[in-house]
Amino acid sequence: MALHTQSLAELAAGLRNGDFTSVELTESMLARIAAHNEKLNAFITVTADDALAAAAGADAARAAGKGGALNGLPIIHKDIFCTQGVKTSCGSKMLENFISPYDATVVENLANAGAIMLGKTNMDEFAMGSSNETSYFGPVHNPWDLECSPGGSSGGSSASIAARLAPGATATDTGGSIRQPAALTGTVGFKPTYGRVSRYGMIAFASSLDQAGTITRSAEDAAMMMSAMAGFDAKDSTSIDEPVPDYAAELGGSVEGLRVGIVRQHFDDGLDAATGERVKEAITQLESMGASTVEVDLPNIDMSVPTYYVVAPAECSSNMSRFDGVRFGHRASDPKDLLDLYCRSRGEGFGDEVKRRIMTGAYVLSAGYYDAYYLKAQQVRQLIADDFKKAFADVDVIAGPTAPAPAFRLGDKVDDPIQMYLNDIYTIGANLAGLPAISVPCGFVNDMPVGLHLVGSHFAEGTLLRCAHQYQQHTDFHKACPEGFE
């Protein structure tokens, strides 16, 4: 059986059994990347030499009876995670030549578990975008239809996993940047509870919303990666000091008796009808497996997109300030004075979407506007979080669509920010409330994948992964491979 079609769990077993070595596995994945990346543009950097050296180390460790839970398994990192000695661009011209002097905690944790980094994946600039079209390094193409977007901002990670260029990827999610690309590429996108995974070394977009997670082909693989990634980090004050369960051990058991909440607003006019059908079929499937459904009300959920587009740009405007051309990143040539250095370094280094959000953010934080925008948005955010809390008194998970429609064509929405922002209408609520959520492949519309979105209460990662895993035991949407990438 070809290595690239196997899941992380299967590959781990193969390595254990001695069916193949980590070097062989790594070589085969690097060959896949070499063969297919050109049409996808999913990678910004491929670290082939380092990967092969690390794989040899992993093989030696295994031979000596050592090595962590992910020993010798190849993975890829979204280019938002700092990787020591390797370019960390965040999809921006600003950091085109930035070599990070340190590893993000996520990178370090996965390396300590034995995972092998194959490379860094393309993304919307500074994670601001829902189509991967804002990347300075060009858009990523969806393996299911190369003229379509793979979603964003983690489009490089989602396209790579769908195209079988790697079995597992890290990604980040501020308003849906893991789950929406997963839905649009037929992969599993998992965003844990805010604070579950350290943000140290993950270049900040909107600090109170950013959360690292995974894109894989199965919930089981997400559980494997998450067990290694998650945990308290003294370097991140917002990381939470709670023990990390063995998520893989929680996958068993059934969904018998699981209470699934359905939000009426999530099936309104904004949802593509065929996409809605696939999602309803998935819910019916869960019912047939023993789950019950309950209608729940999230009265303020309609305000999540406008709330998000105040809070996220506000934090972004401040987080982007350190890119000033003084210490690292792009610096304009021959500045005539300090103001010129700032204006041209930032003017040249940032793309349009980043600039749009910096300006929006600076505006909503300005004296005289703060109360009407930022403060009001924070209040609404609290209302939305309270709505979820109330809902989770009656249900275990909330199910609905991940994105309003299947993948759209590259170029279709790039000139209409509002249409683009509405792509995250179903996912943003989980970020505003800090809740864990997952997108699981649940069918196709015109041969393009559709995702089922499941949201859990704080720290209910285990429940979400179990629900998604059990669903995948009864369906094989995630096993479908895009044509040309078999």
Binding site: A204, S207, R322, Y342
Partner: protein, 484 residues
């Protein structure tokens, strides 16, 4: 308190913002060292440099220090305070924002008592004290057309202490500032070193016609770092404002810099050019939550504060109030004095006289701090004891002190080596007295005729004969007996 102008009396209104660097080993949000004077950028870790992806982690020691200060000035220590980002661009501000506290500071509603010009006690309100990080330093010297940035100081913890506009003269401002300076050093939360910039202040100064309720427009004088400059800068600014208003002009709300060479303040930027700092709560840091138990635990470590110590010195040691004030101006001086007292048999006022007099003089002369005194407290106690037990006179003691200061050993060593032991043997003194009387018949006659003042002449002669070693009391008595 008022200042006379050509048009009438003016009232001066001053509020101070003190920036006191907290004496932690590491920075407020990272593990980098805070030591002063290192090579540029050798104490700038990735957090100090504001690298992409790094995050701040609060140094808990600064919370303890701020709470201790709050309790010392009878303030409320907030059960919940919040760090906020103050956004502005400057090359020595690596992140493009300073982490400070804005709406919810850690300390509020404190007070400090000073003595005003009339000798009355006056209460000065402390609006708030909040924690923040310092910026780095821009360097222009020695660089032709470019500027250097040193980020060693970036992230150094500061406690910004903001007073109410309760101060009515430069003198009051300095008195208040000295009190704050003393307190932070007593608490051990700041070294108060003004040369190194670890204690500096901004002064908000305005004037208004005497009796007017409404405050005048204020100017803020930035970065004053010596008590002398603060007084001069405020006085200059007061005069400038009065003159301007009386000349028919108006005061612009602006930031001004004091130039100590020219002794004047100059405009730096006006309010119209002022930044909108776009403060908002820093999402990278959790609110600081302080429990009652924590506050009580901090309170239990509260050292005796200057005012209480001064009162105790007066009541327990019977010191003069002025002396008690001088001795308690710094904790190390007070500790030194108490060490002398505990090791000496003499009355504490004598110990106080030596500490305030000869010792302070010698320290001042050699530019030393009390902690670097060449005579340790127990050695000074040894000297005081020899005065007390009449081994030496107070006058000889000064000679012994100098020898001790110059490293010639303990008081006993010096007295033995130089043969300075006081003569208390009456027969020996009588012999000298007899000699002096027989050699000065003229003066004896005058004295007996009623010129009592001449007793000093005889005492002087006897002391001269004994090289100052005769016990002055005994000399006096014997002389009076023999001359009567």
């Amino acid at each position: 308190m008022s200042v006379a102008g050509s048009s009438g009396q003016w009232e001066v209104v001053i509020g101070l913002e003190v920036h006191s660097q907290l004496a932690t080993k590491s920075k407020i949000f990272s593990g980098a060292s805070t030591a002063y004077g290192a090579e540029p950028n050798t104490q700038a870790c990735l957090v100090s440099l504001g690298y992409p992806g790094v995050l701040p982690v609060l140094n808990e020691e600064v919370v303890r220090m701020a709470a201790l200060f709050g309790l010392a000035v009878n303030a409320t220590v907030a059960p919940r305070s919040v760090f906020a980002r103050k956004n502005y661009f400057y090359p020595d501000l690596p992140k493009g924002y300073q982490i400070s506290q804005f709406e919810l500071p850690i300390v509020e509603h404190g007070e400090m008592t000073i003595t005003d010009a009339d000798g009355n006690e006056k209460r000065i309100g402390i609006t708030r004290a909040h924690l923040e990080e310092d910026a780095g330093k821009s360097i222009h010297e020695g660089l032709d057309t470019s500027s250097g940035i040193d980020l060693n100081r970036a992230g150094t913890p500061l406690l910004e202490i903001v007073s109410e506009p309760d101060l009515r003269s430069a003198k009051e401002a300095v008195a208040y500032l000295r009190k704050i300076h003393t307190i932070v050093r007593y608490l051990g939360i700041s070294d108060g070193n003004m040369q190194e910039g670890s204690f500096r202040c901004d002064a908000n100064v305005s004037v208004r016609p005497m009796g007017q309720e409404e405050l005048g427009t204020r100017a803020e004088i930035k970065n004053l770092n010596s008590f002398r400059f603060i007084e001069k800068a405020i006085n200059f600014e007061v005069e400038r404002q009065i003159e301007r208003i009386e000349d028919g002009g108006t005061i612009v709300q602006e930031t001004r810099l004091y130039d100590s060479d020219k002794d004047e303040t100059r405009s730096m930027r006006s309010k119209e050019e002022a930044n909108d700092y776009r403060y908002f709560p820093d999402p990278d840091l959790l609110p600081v939550e302080i429990s009652d138990e924590y506050i009580e635990a901090v309170r239990a470590t509260m050292p005796e504060l200057p005012a209480a110590k001064e009162a105790r010195f007066v009541s327990d040691y019977d010191l003069r109030e002025d002396d008690a004030g001088i001795l308690t101006a710094s904790r190390s001086l007070a500790d030194y004095f108490e060490s002398v007292v505990s090791a000496a048999d003499a009355n504490p006022q004598i110990a106080a006289n030596w500490v305030i007099g000869d010792l302070a003089g010698a320290l001042n002369r050699d530019g030393l701090d009390i902690s670097d005194s060449k005579i340790p407290a127990d050695a000074l106690a040894g000297l005081v004891n020899r005065i007390h037990d009449d081994t030496i006179s107070g006058k000889i003691a000064k000679q012994v002190f100098e020898a001790m200061w110059n490293g010639e050993g303990s008081a006993d060593d010096v007295i033995d080596a130089k043969g300075l032991k006081q003569i208390t043997d009456s027969s020996a003194i009588e012999a000298v007295v007899d000699k002096v009387i027989s050699e000065n018949p003229g003066q004896v006659a005058e004295y007996k005729a009623g010129k009592d003042k001449l007793i000093g002449f005889f005492v002087g002669k006897v002391m001269q004969e004994t090289k100052g070693q005769a016990n002055p009391g005994q000399v006096n008595q014997i002389l009076k007996d023999k001359l009567s």
